[in-house]
């Protein structure tokens, strides 16, 4: 926008391959006031459906993109401006933005995550980095996840930081051998990624099993870690939804998998056909079944959690600032376990399940930004 009194809401980039998005419905209308984090529009790509949240506050003056049309990533979909901005100025801005949409030009990929590989104990570990300045942030996914589970937060965080997301052993496109499935194997992989990046200092953000991995990485070399942000981490209580874990490891078909994946979210309408198909495609890869089984053995002792990250974290003392984030409607690990995490900052996100970074990304982003400032 040439006029800085007009702010653009743009088509987000959700994931490495996204070039175009489609608005399926508007949540806001012209004339509405929006605050940061308010839902703006439902958007779908060929991979995923999600809700775009406002990144800045203001009055919605114009909806630029039409429902159902393809909009290139970073194309303007709506304009925010205060009442003193005239209609003529807004109409000029709309024309300019419409021209971009109608040209269908896909922006250059300069800001897209770059995929690289590291070696950890003979295993190939893939990771994707984005962002050129600032502190190093490493995002560590949970059991059965991959680096793409950070698609709603990696790119926005990269505006101020160098943000990397890895595929743990046995996951994504990394090597599928997990050895004995122990936490050490996973922590070694994450540490090797930090070495490969050349990061002397890094902030770790870990989800679920990835939270436990983050704690283990910090325990290996506490001086290297600027802060720990743990999202619904494993290892801070006995209770866990063991039926979910075993069901996920064993599910062979779409019909078996879909209801299980629904348990991850407060709102299971987020589980699209594509989400389930992508998970099935992952689970069919050679070696994945064995990897998930091995990790299950390390995670579970009967129906209870085997891993104790709590004492490991306490052992670190106050050296590293810890933030814990939990969805209020977590159906995998109960939100009550947040109490057991020795963290300076605790945040429960209302209306989120086990995947708050997918369901309520702007709240997770704000918490991670705060943690980075604190660290």
């Amino acid at each position: 926008m040439t006029d800085d009194r007009i702010a653009a809401i743009t088509m987000p980039k959700w994931g490495l391959s996204m070039q175009l998005g489609k608005i399926t419905s508007w949540v806001v209308a012209e004339g509405d006031e929006v605050s940061v984090g308010d839902d703006v529009a439902d958007i779908e790509t060929d991979k995923i459906a999600g809700t775009l949240e406002a990144g800045s506050a203001g009055t919605v003056r114009r909806l630029v993109a039409r429902v159902g049309e393809d909009v290139p990533v970073s194309g303007t979909i709506a304009l925010l401006a205060s009442a003193d901005v005239g209609d003529d100025e807004l109409d000029a801005a709309v024309l300019q933005a419409r021209a971009v949409i109608e040209a269908g030009a896909v922006p250059d990929e300069g800001g897209a995550p770059v995929l690289e590989s590291a070696q950890a104990g003979g295993r190939k570990i893939d990771y994707a980095g984005v962002g050129s300045d600032g502190e190093v942030v490493l995002l560590i996914h949970g059991y059965g996840g991959d680096r793409n589970s950070w698609l709603f937060v990696q790119q926005p965080l990269a505006e101020r930081h160098r943000v990397y997301a890895l595929d743990l052993p046995g996951h994504g496109t990394s090597g599928k051998d997990v050895g004995d499935g122990s936490l050490e194997v996973l922590a070694e992989a994450a540490a090797c990624v930090l070495d490969a990046i050349g990061a002397e200092r890094a902030h770790l953000v870990g989800h679920s099993l990835g939270g436990t991995v983050a704690v283990a990485v910090a325990a290996r070399d506490p001086g290297r870690i600027g802060s720990l942000t743990l999202i619904a981490p494993a290892g801070f209580g006995a209770e866990i939804n063991a039926d979910y874990l075993r069901g996920f490891a064993g599910a062979q078909t779409r019909r078996e998998l879909r209801p299980l994946v629904g348990l991850l979210f407060a709102d299971d309408s987020l589980v699209t056909r594509q989400v389930v198909d992508d998970l099935l495609a992952y689970k069919r890869l050679d070696g994945v079944e064995a990897a998930l089984e091995a990790l299950l053995g390390a995670l579970l002792d009967g129906d209870r959690q085997r891993i104790d990250a709590s004492s490991q974290l306490r052992g670190l003392g106050d050296a590293i600032p810890v933030t814990v984030i939990w969805g209020s409607a977590d159906k995998i690990i109960p939100v009550g376990q947040a109490e057991s995490v020795p963290a300076a900052s605790k945040q429960v996100i209302e209306g989120a399940g086990h995947m708050p970074h997918m369901e309520k990304p702007s709240e997770v982003l704000a918490a991670v930004e705060a943690a980075l400032r604190g660290g």
Binding site: Q252, T253, R255, R273, A281, R284, L285, D286
Partner: protein, 337 residues
């Protein structure tokens, strides 16, 4: 990482990865090595449409050219399977099955049953099928219903490069004889395929498009024609659920019935001739097991009960096209008692 490769390359990659993984996997058929050992260029063909090209160099001695005698080499493959190898034999066109059918339906298909489960026959017979290449009556048929009829055989017909690789790997690892149908008009179709090996289980249909108004059950090349029709119909306000069977034996009854129970309307699209076909079989299944859910008569979109014509104009009319599929969907969507 997934990259885009063709259906032909996906099949080649599945063969290469399984041959790499398991020494007992061998490939045999007419021109599969492509003139190996004879004067002239080595590896010139790789099968009549080049699917096995390059394997002969990677796996010396394990890609065998055979005489033009299906009864001999299909029988040899089945015998080798009972003796411990995992042969993948290429029956160039399924239209030639007549000359080797006894080996398949009365031998391979029966061994596990007749020997009380003590014998396994892990053979894969890859074969081309389908119209559209101006190859006329003797090189264009869709004969998968014939094999689907026979207990003891598994029958697979992938529609995409992703499915072709994953289903062929599953076929090679399977301990039963598998008939693997490759549509010749799909060989140049490109799509995302992971570099890693993966197996897609048999008997799991793929819901390739979700919709609540009409269920389209289909397979092979017709998946693409059905998706094209479904895209057009969505513009007219009719949402189709498109189910790709992937395998006709075993058949994923649950996915079909669940969808029909939801939509109440069924169109079956099948490139094969209509008598005793998948189309009639699936409509019988729905009529018997989802009768209470049906809100309209079932429509079948198939080839007519004729040989595939040699005339280009007639061949184009013979193959079910998106327009005929669209008309059938509208018929069931608008049907009123």
């Amino acid at each position: 990482m997934a990259r885009n490769i063709t259906y032909r390359e996906a099949i080649n990659e599945a063969l290469a990865q399984e041959m790499e993984r398991d020494d007992s996997v061998i490939v045999m058929g007419e021109d599969n090595a492509g003139g190996a050992g004879s004067p002239g260029e080595d590896d010139a063909w790789g099968g009549v449409l080049g699917v096995t090209k390059g394997l002969y160099r990677k796996f010396p001695g394990r890609v065998l050219d055979t005489p033009i005698s299906e009864s001999a080499f299909i029988g040899a493959a089945i015998g080798a399977a009972t003796a411990g190898l995992r042969p993948v034999a290429e029956l160039m066109f399924v239209d030639f099955m007549g000359v080797c059918l006894d080996q398949i339906y009365n031998q391979a298909a029966k061994f596990r049953y007749m020997f009380g489960g003590k014998a396994v026959t892990p053979v894969v017979i890859r074969t081309m099928y389908g119209a559209g290449l101006r190859a006329a009556a003797q090189h264009s048929q869709c004969l998968y219903p014939v094999f689907t009829h026979i207990p003891g055989l598994k029958v697979v017909a992938p529609s995409t490069p992703y499915d072709a690789k994953g289903l062929l790997i599953q076929a090679i690892r399977d301990d039963d004889p598998v008939m693997f149908f490759e549509h010749k008009a799909l060989y140049d179709l490109s799509g995302p395929v992971p570099e890693e090996s993966y197996a897609i289980p048999f008997g799991e249909a793929n819901v390739v498009r979700e919709g609540g108004d009409v269920t389209i059950v289909t397979l092979g090349r017709m998946v693409h024609h059905s998706l094209e029709a479904a895209g057009e119909l969505a513009g007219a306000g009719i949402e189709c659920e498109v189910i790709d069977l992937r395998t006709t034996s075993p058949l994923d009854e649950d996915t079909i019935l669940e969808s029909v129970e939801n939509t109440g309307r069924l169109v079956v699209v099948d490139e094969a001739n209509p008598r005793c076909s998948l189309a009639t079989d699936i409509s019988a299944l729905a009529a018997q097991k989802a009768f209470g859910s049906l809100r309209a008569p079932i429509e079948l979109v198939t080839a007519p009960h004729t040989p595939v014509p040699f005339s280009n104009v007639l061949e184009d009319m013979y193959i079910p096209d998106p327009q005929r599929i669209g008309n059938a969907v509208k018929t069931v969507a608008e049907w009123a008692r």
